[in-house]
């Protein structure tokens, strides 16, 4: 594995790490297996790419992507909390609708961004050479997201959000609406996933309607690898774990590719990886 492979893996790990933090919110904090993310990741890329092509400032397109992702999360939240559709199905319904919406947003299945000014080219033009421009920007964004998320989860509302996934009965007894908390969590989660999609789109130089396939599994893999490797003793540790997990996940994918695995086999590999990590605690117990 050469250096450029390592740098690419690191960059991808950081860019997708924000998605993994989003999955962490729905999957771990809310205890809500939210498949919306397979649609909200390309949604972010689509919104950002479409606006970039229209000449909007690349940083502003990120904000638009965040807003769009938040709306997608709100729809899943509405389906689940108001229409009482099961969590899994709510996510699938939104994800499926988003496929059409993403095509509408882009106007075609793929938007190339070659030659368009992105956030990465903006930093490069400031005098930061490749690959440091990518790394610097991605690290800045993910550190900011992590710190804000850590802080938020330690506010009063953050406590309520965490308790909602842990023991909804308790949170109702505390006079807090579990529905509002679920809604809030799903909005935040998908806003982050969409932001990640926008970053990935600008980073790889195109937005594609199919780029979201398998997002949830990659996100879960990152969350779980992080838990096994770093732990989850506190929120600060857990979110760090998710980011490290995302980086390790992308490295393992690169290594697998380097070993000669076909790119088309990657989804299978990821699924197996998730199964192994999810079952580790059980296997350990059985061996004891």
């Amino acid at each position: 594995m050469n250096l450029s492979f390592a740098i690419t893996s690191l960059e991808q790990g950081l860019a997708f790490g924000i998605m993994a933090l989003g999955v962490f919110i729905s999957f771990r904090i809310l205890d809500f297996a939210d498949l919306t993310v397979d649609g909200s990741l390309p949604l972010g890329a689509a919104v950002s790419a479409r606006l970039l092509v229209a000449g909007v400032n690349p940083f502003v397109t990120l904000a638009a992507a965040v807003a769009a992702g938040g709306m997608a999360g709100a729809i899943t939240g509405f389906l689940n909390t108001k229409l009482k559709i099961a969590p899994l199905l709510s996510g699938i319904l939104t994800m499926t609708s988003l496929y059409s919406i993403n095509l509408r947003v882009m106007g075609r299945p793929n938007i190339p961004l070659i030659g368009k000014g992105t956030i990465f080219s903006f930093i490069r033009d400031l005098g930061v050479p490749y690959p440091w421009n990518n790394l610097l920007l991605l690290i800045l964004v993910i550190v900011a997201v992590k710190l804000i998320l850590d802080a938020f989860l330690n506010t009063q509302i953050g406590f309520a959000l965490r308790a909602t996934g842990d023991n909804p009965q308790m949170i109702r007894s505390m006079g807090i609406s579990t529905n509002s908390m679920k809604m809030l969590g799903l909005i935040l989660s998908n806003a982050l996933v969409s932001l990640s999609g926008a970053l990935v789109g600008q980073y790889q130089g195109f937005a594609d309607v199919n780029m979201g396939v398998g997002t949830i599994v990659a996100g879960l893999a990152s969350v779980i690898i992080g838990e096994v490797v770093i732990g989850d003793s506190s929120i600060i540790i857990a979110t760090l774990g998710v980011i490290i997990g995302s980086i390790l996940y992308r490295f393992s994918i690169s290594i697998a590719l380097n070993l000669g695995l076909a790119a088309s086999d990657l989804k299978l590999l990821t699924a197996i990886l998730v199964i192994i990590f999810l079952s580790t605690p059980r296997i350990k117990k059985a061996l004891r």
Partner: protein, 265 residues
């Protein structure tokens, strides 16, 4: 302060399994009352508390708390004025969160949630003071995750969380039934202490006749979804378990069918 009027709750209405759980109950609870509720299985004790707490919609009647009609309010809205402790010690706390994080939610219960820090020096001081009172050494373990506590410790914490924000009404549903005898006694003493200290109006379901007679100033016996006896202050002082069982048999026309209750006599 609490008025239950003509309350009716029917489960599986319109099906062959239709079950009238609460059969047109009227109940007036006065400020500062500590009412113990006894009754055989299926008498409607828990359903009565759940109806008051807004857990499910009722068929008929109304629940008025502090002159406010809360009949149709959802559970979480009712909870702003009502504290609850359940039989299951796991029900009242968030296991993955620490003692201080759990307590923080309870302390800010009466206020609107905000983006202010969930914990502060001031808040921790209040917590320590409260935890010292329950005398389980938890004040030294603020940052311990609640899942590491024993059932009794968790129930004590739940009780504290239910009372710390001074609710208008406290609903206890056999909250010591799942604990070992020694711990149950501790939690009962703590209950009396916390309720008296804050003068909280309380409804407590118990399967233990002796507790029902000893604790509180008023005893309600339920059967078949109705209140068959409402025994107040003076009369309650002369009550014995034998008398109570006799009274039940007269009205019910049969023996008490709550095995646990007989065993714990």
């Amino acid at each position: 302060m609490l008025k239950v009027k003509n309350l009716e709750k029917i489960f599986y209405k319109g099906t062959p399994n239709e079950n009238v759980a609460i059969d047109k109950i009227d109940l007036t609870v006065n400020e500062g009352d500590f009412i113990t509720i006894v009754g055989s299985n299926g008498a409607g004790k828990s359903t009565l508390l759940n109806s008051i707490a807004g857990v499910f919609p009722v068929e008929n009647g109304s629940v008025i708390l502090d002159n406010e009609n809360i009949t149709k309010k959802s559970e979480y809205k009712c909870a702003q004025k009502i504290g609850r402790v359940f039989q299951n010690p796991l029900a009242g706390t968030s296991p993955e969160m620490t003692i201080e994080e759990n307590l923080s939610l309870a302390i800010s219960k009466s206020r609107n949630l905000s983006l202010r820090w969930g914990l502060s020096k001031h808040k921790r001081e209040i917590m320590r003071k409260h935890l010292e009172k329950i005398d389980l050494g938890l004040e030294k373990r603020l940052t311990t995750k609640v899942k590491l506590l024993s059932g009794g410790q968790r129930q004590a914490l739940t009780l504290l969380m239910a009372t710390v924000a001074n609710p208008r009404l406290l609903l206890l549903d056999e909250h010591t039934a799942a604990l070992d005898p020694a711990t149950a006694i501790k939690i009962k003493n703590l209950t009396v202490e916390l309720v008296n200290e804050n003068n909280i109006t309380t409804l407590m379901i118990t399967h233990n006749m002796e507790d029902a007679i000893k604790m509180g100033n008023r005893l309600i016996m339920m059967d078949g979804g109705q209140i068959i006896y409402d025994i107040k202050a003076e009369e309650k002082k002369d009550l014995t378990i034998e008398k109570l069982l006799k009274m039940f048999e007269i009205k019910h026309g049969g023996q008490f069918n709550n095995d646990r209750m007989l065993l714990s006599v």
